[in-house]
Structures are given as structure tokens and as C-alpha cells.
Symmetry: C2
Subunit: 114 residues, 2 copies
């Protein structure tokens, strides 16, 4: 019994009209697009193909009923991608709550070992 270590764990996602649309993986992709300005670089950093990342973004943009990522193709720099205001807001709100949630889980876990 002394070596039994209990803890709470959990998961968190955003729903739109009761459908899951955004979890930690997608939010990480959005953040990396915002940081790099590039879907290709964001995909590379996460070890996914450009096609996979595009598919995810297309899915996000379609399901959100409003643009979340805007992509400007071509040009000297080879295109540029950025989040819309809503995209930034959702991504920041998720990240902040997710961080809080992880801390909350840790804190509450202390109660399990009493």
C-alpha cells in the first residue's frame, strides 16, 4: 500500500455546437503556425507531413464556420500563414486553461493519498 501512488489525470478539448473541434494537438499546430508564419515549418516541427497539416487546417477552417488560419500562397518568401483573431483567441484560451487544468490535476491529486 505504501508504494501505491494515486493521481488524477484528464483531458481537455474545445467543442463547437457540441462537436469536439480542438484538442492539444491541433492547438499546438496553430501555435506553431503563429510562431513560424509557415504551415510547412509548423508541420515539420511536429513531425507531420505538409499534407497532414493542411488537412487538419482545412478541417478546422471548415468546421469552425469561420476562418481560423489564413494562408497567403506564393510570393518571394514562399507563402505566409497566420491565425485570425478568433484563431489566436481560441488557441490562447485553450493553452491557458490547459495549463491551469494540469496544475489543478496535480493539486487535487494530493487529496487522493490521504
Amino acid at each position: 500500500m505504501a508504494d501505491s501512488k494515486y493521481n488524477f489525470n484528464g483531458s481537455l478539448w474545445v467543442e463547437l455546437n457540441s462537436e469536439p473541434v480542438l484538442g492539444p494537438g491541433r492547438v499546438e499546430l496553430l501555435e506553431r503556425i503563429e510562431q513560424t508564419g509557415s504551415i510547412r515549418q509548423a508541420a515539420q516541427q511536429m513531425g507531420m507531413s505538409y499534407a497532414q497539416a493542411w488537412k487538419m487546417i482545412d478541417h478546422i477552417n471548415t468546421h469552425f464556420g469561420e476562418p481560423i488560419v489564413i494562408s497567403h500562397r506564393g510570393g518571394k518568401g514562399g507563402g505566409h500563414a497566420e491565425l485570425t483573431a478568433k484563431g489566436k483567441h481560441l488557441s490562447l484560451a485553450f493553452k491557458a486553461f490547459h495549463q491551469q487544468f494540469r496544475e489543478y490535476l496535480q493539486e487535487q491529486s494530493k487529496l487522493l493519498d490521504l
Copy 2:
């Protein structure tokens, strides 16, 4: 956009030595055993078979490395089941945190629609 309704959702479970061991379904079973004093009645209330409930409890008792449900067979009343102190504690702690978590999700969801 006006009819887009965002909300947070999430799930919660208890881990023992980093393995998931207890979620809302099992906790409900434990609670109903505590309330009814009977594995059979608890199973019936949840629409599961006695065998299923037994299997779940056996799994819980085995994986927790300490008894969570104690069952006294036979006797006039047809047997009696109850939670150990640890079982009661885990079940109450989970329920309290789960309730808090649901409220927390609702409250945080307000931030998504800004």
C-alpha cells in the same frame, strides 16, 4: 458566426502508478454499491449484468493492490457488499472533483465566446 457556440469539455479519471483505474462509470458503480449494500442491485440500476459488475469489481480490487469493495456472501439477506475506507475515500474524492471540474468547464467556456 452568431450561432457558433464554443465550449470546453473534458474527462477525468484516477490513475494508480500511472495506469488509469477509475473513471465516472466505475465510481458510479462504487457509489451505488455503497448506497444499496448490494452488487446485484447496483448492477441492475446501471443496466449491467451481475457478471459484468463482478468483473469490474474484481478488476478494481486486483489493480488497486488493496481491497476497495468487500463482499460478504450469503446469509439471510443474500449477501452484503460495502466499500472499504479507501474505496469510500476515492469514490468521494473523485465525485467531488468531477463535480467541480464540470462547473469549472462551464465557467471557462464563457471565455471562448469573447
